[in-house]
């Protein structure tokens, strides 16, 4: 459903002690948007992503997922979610892919994928397994369903992590530097899966250093600097003549964006 706002973030602020990491960030993602968040290390892009599914609690600001606002209460100068139940529900609608995969090491690949659907969504096991097998097929590791995470390469583990997130049928997928922990030759296989997802119309928010992904797959690029959105726009503008001097300098460090 194009035109539906899947994610809306209003004026998010986040401080760690006296250090303000996010200084008021707003962002909207329509259905099917693929947004790349770029920025130097320390610009707050990962913190921003983690605030959206409340792995970090924003100091201030509003978050709407598929129109539902995350209710917050302010107590003793700190902000807390009003309802853990709502937080759990919101998180189940946001697929998160971590930089270092974070697969459950004691579970097989199949068990990793059916864990959420079975125990969070409480769906029947047979159904979950059938879907998990289809997902494994989709990310190209169907033969590994009974292996354990430690038996897989980094690229394979990350593809399992993507399948695990997809098994929850999320409204939005959040990627936190999904290829940064991978050997260069394994980056491609993960990016291919992400590109296929984008082409299917999945709404995605991707913190990345992969300029080729930002440029060729995403339909919007957001450049963060010192806790603020420095500039944003379509990739053709951002990587073309419309780039701000700061973004131009940033991508200069990546060899002109390639």
């Amino acid at each position: 459903m194009p035109g539906v706002t899947r994610l809306s973030v209003r004026n998010i602020r986040k401080s760690f002690g006296t250090h303000e990491v996010l200084r008021g960030i707003s962002l909207d993602a329509q259905d099917g948007d693929v947004i790349s968040l770029l920025g130097a290390s320390g610009s707050g892009k990962s913190t921003f992503l983690r605030c959206i599914n409340l792995l970090e609690t924003a100091t201030d600001g509003d978050i709407f997922v598929d129109g539902e606002q995350i209710r917050m209460v302010h107590k003793n100068g700190r902000s807390h979610p009003a309802s853990q139940k709502q937080v759990d529900h919101i998180r189940s609608e946001l697929g998160m892919v971590f930089q270092s995969f974070n697969l459950w090491s004691h579970m097989t690949i199949l068990e990793n994928i059916i864990e959420g659907p079975m125990h969070v969504l409480k769906r029947p096991k047979a159904e979950c397994i059938a879907e998990a097998e289809a997902l494994l097929e989709k990310v190209g590791i169907a033969g590994k369903r009974d292996a354990y995470p430690a038996h897989l390469s980094g690229g394979q583990q990350q593809r399992v992590a993507i399948a695990r997130a997809l098994a929850m049928k999320p409204k939005v997928m959040l990627f936190d530097e999904p290829t940064s922990a991978l050997d260069p030759e394994l980056v491609g296989e993960v990016l291919r899966v992400m590109r296929a997802l984008a082409e299917e119309g999945m709404t995605m928010l991707v913190v990345t250093h992969e300029m080729s992904f930002a440029r060729n797959v995403s339909n919007r690029v957001v450049f963060m600097k010192e806790g603020l959105v420095e500039s944003s726009g379509a990739p053709e503008d951002m990587f073309g003549s419309g780039a701000s001097p700061a973004f131009r300098q940033f991508i200069g460090n990546f060899g002109n964006g390639q």
Partner: protein, 232 residues
């Protein structure tokens, strides 16, 4: 060597094995459950519960089990509210006192062993659980506890073996388990060597079985740490 005497001693001691096994299994079971409760308090955010658990662990790890057992067996009856309570018919039984003090003691050690297991759970795996919509008891049951238990298992095996040996102390509060029966036999026959040798063999065999069982459990729970089967 007097084999006839060895065999008859062994037969006498074997008759006491069920008592030792009851002492062992009930105290490990109750102590393990109590240990879970204590470790839950120990890692909770509540400072009152946390400090109570710290105090509990300090007291039961820091004093000799034998003294704890004497305090339970001889001490509790001195309090009128216990002596005249509905619990007294149970608490005056030596067996109950022995199981109670063994359980109270192992709960302190078990709690610390469980805590070390919990601390070894990767925060990243917990975070993955949260990110998928888990919290509270579901997160503990599905993610934290299974991983923590695997980490704690080797140390917990040791604690269980120590408990098997600690049941010998129950003889001091007149429970006729293997060691108690052995001492009675010695006082009747003055043949220390043979009788204690038989007792030692019994404990060795029991612990051998326990350790084998624990090793099997550990093996079956650690498939993820072994090399992948070549077919995969």
């Amino acid at each position: 060597m007097d084999f006839a005497f060895l065999f008859s001693s062994m037969a006498t001691l074997l008759a006491a094995v069920p008592t030792t096994l009851i002492l062992f299994s009930l105290s490990v079971l109750c102590g393990g459950l109590l240990g879970l409760l204590i470790v839950t308090m120990r890692v909770s955010g509540n400072p009152v519960l946390r400090n109570f658990a710290k105090g509990y662990i300090f007291v039961f790890r820091g004093s000799p089990l034998m003294i704890q057992m004497f305090l339970v067996f001889y001490g509790l009856g001195q309090f009128g509210f216990i002596r005249y309570s509905f619990l007294w018919p149970f608490l005056r039984e030596p067996m109950v006192c022995a199981i109670l003090s063994l359980a109270l003691c192992t709960a302190g050690y078990s709690a610390e062993i469980f805590r070390s297991g919990i601390r070894a759970v990767s925060p990243k795996e917990i975070e993955a659980g949260r990110a998928i919509g888990m919290s509270g008891f579901l997160l503990v049951r599905r993610i934290i506890a299974p991983i923590a238990f695997r980490h704690a298992l080797p140390a917990y095996s040791t604690e269980i073996v120590l408990m098997m040996k600690s049941t010998a102390l129950a003889s001091l509060v007149t429970v006729w388990e293997v060691t108690g029966v052995a001492q009675r036999l010695i006082s009747q026959t003055y043949r220390t060597m043979e009788v204690f040798l038989c007792a030692a063999v019994i404990y060795l065999v029991l612990n051998f079985i326990i350790l084998q069982a624990m090793a099997l459990l550990e093996y079956s729970l650690s498939r993820h740490r072994r090399p992948a089967p070549s077919a995969a």
